[in-house]
Assembly symmetry: none
DNA sequence: TTTTAATCGAGACGGTACGTCGAGTCTTGAC
DNA sequence: GTCAAGACTCGACGTACCGTCTCGATTAAAA
């Protein structure tokens, strides 16, 4: 449904079946792993969830919406890192979580597929724009590690610097095992802190 | 066509129509702009190219293949930068070309769509792996700018560092106008050269 | 409602809303004219009558039942002819009423549609068998005009002789304007009276 | 297809599968008997004929068209009577064939259903108007029996007089076993011949 | 006066057919 | 052997109506 149960209008009527909602979200998770994004269909989701096709369409209009709702909570959870007093450790933990999410987590696979679909489908792009999972999670970490506004670099560009290389690495099909989070975190910290002084980037 | 015109088998027979081939590649370019990646279909390509459906299938098996062939040459051309003696200028020029390609060029739109499709479709991933347009173009620039193997950072990770932030920025739907190539190039140069000494990367 | 308001079971309870009943019958009449029999749906009836779907189903189980109840009273009224002392005049008046009913009246359109539905749907056939509107109206006229049992022809066959040609004419889509009731009435009278003597038909 | 294979345009292309055409017509015949007109669906026809749904829609746009094509040939055959020199015998034979057709033949069941559907669906009415199976067959018999234009009664009204009573009898669900063709034929002959002299009907 | 019970509206539910579309394949005749 | 044309099977699309099922809110007669 994208935005959780709106039940204002009228008031009357049979209430939405929470069971059906859960079954659909569960089904789409399973299907993504089994048949891949391209193989997921609204029909397939409905059948797997033992739910009528109409019920799926009633609450989500595309498979992208179902996937988004199914994965966005998992995504936020998997990308959250417990803050410590050590910025380097935080950054390292975040980069490790990022690789794990993008390259190995089911929620990450869903997210990659959505990012992909968004490249050729404006509707999906708009959907993704409603919640910037990656950006939000990174911003929290970066803000703690380097402080906001202390460098000349806007916060969102600083996060792009952090996320970008890993993002490209995974999406372009390179081996995620070859990434070393610790080194990247050190270099990143060095770079953005230099930016504070040099005023470059 | 994926594998260039093979003319070995048998002997006689009508030769492949170069006219048809060009018409297909042309049509797919047009269609991409008009209806977007999701709207492109094999049927649509054939009709637009005034070519029979069978003819398209004879030479390409998926729309991804047609798009790939139609855009890969343009892509390489658009990402090539004339080498100068100034590494900073080269890097800056490359980053500008990269933004132009990813965010504004038709070939780039096709490439983004293909990268996207690859996230959920292994066949497309394999297709893209046959020619690493982005990596190749960046490698050439990076090699000239910092020298190969002089840092501890492997070359392909150094290129990921260069491409990644921009790649993420554009694919996540952020405004490409806010990227400043010059600053990024300076910071990049600073970082990878520090890596040579610090051995971090 | 098919079987008039039964109020036996239990005891208390909210009484049936006569308003709702009338609204439904009214709605089905309107809809039949606007969208035709095929276009009438239970859903459409409910919405048009500003009544819940369940309420329609509570009292009628198919659209045929609603239509039947909505049209049967009108039908009987439209087919009733005031008896005079002149059999020929009675028959003529009846045939005129029959054409008017079958070819031009809304109730007749409903009746034709029901007869039609009955050809392929035994449930509708059974429904129609509960009240032979056409036969009843004709029987009354024929009985007065020629007397019952005076010919060898059973009464219902004599009525079929009267109704049949017009019935076929209209249902097979022929122009009702070309029927001349007076001539048909004369011939009919001649034929059935001959039957009394000849003992043939 | 309603009008047999049109193969003029273009010339190229795979020819229509006669096998598929026959399978569809056969399937709809079977289905009509098994599940009744209301139970016949385009989906059901396609599945029963082991043919794709698209193929059915390619040549017929509604189930009425399929049924019409499937039954019209049988209908004409079943209603044809071998002319003799005895008008009374011809008429009797025709009336017997008519009862057999309307009340007992599969083609007749289809025809009744189509007539029925036509009452509430103008498209079906138009379809039926393209070929007046009942009228054509009766006209041939009546013309031979009484001569055309010898009475004041137009030929098609004379045929309505012949067909009508039986038509009404069967369509209103009355027992076809109670009809006696011979008596009806005699009365009919008597009536229309009287009409020649009396100039009534 | 409180139950009690059947009504009402609204609207979600599982089904199933609708008619369309794209994917690939196959079958012609012409080149 | 390629080409245009176009019929073929298959399966998903998104919509519509089916008939059933909860809901909360009425509305009267029975307790």
């Amino acid at each position: 449904m994208t935005e959780a149960a709106r039940k204002e209008p009228g008031a009357g009527g049979r209430p939405r079946s929470e069971e059906a909602r859960a079954a659909v979200l569960h089904a789409v998770d399973d299907l993504l792993l089994e048949v891949g994004y391209a193989g997921v269909t609204m029909k397939g989701i409905a059948e797997r969830a033992r739910v009528s096709r109409q019920t799926v369409y009633r609450w989500w209009s595309t498979k992208a919406e179902v996937l988004f709702e199914a994965s966005v909570n998992d995504a936020a959870a998997e990308l959250a890192v417990e803050p410590t007093d050590d910025p380097l450790a935080d950054l390292t933990a975040y980069l490790e979580a990022l690789v794990r999410f993008l390259a190995h987590s089911p929620a990450g696979a869903a997210y990659r597929a959505l990012i992909g679909e968004a490249q050729g489908d404006p509707a999906v792009a708009a959907l993704l724009a409603t919640k910037d999972v990656l950006g939000d999670s990174a911003r929290a970490v970066v803000r703690r590690a380097v402080g906001e506004g202390r460098g000349k670099l806007p916060l969102d560009q600083a996060t792009a610097l952090l996320i970008g290389p890993t993002f490209f690495w995974v999406l372009s099909g390179r081996d995620p095992g070859r990434l070393v989070a610790r080194e990247r975190a050190e270099a990143y910290l060095h770079e953005v802190r230099a930016g504070e002084i040099m005023g470059t980037a």
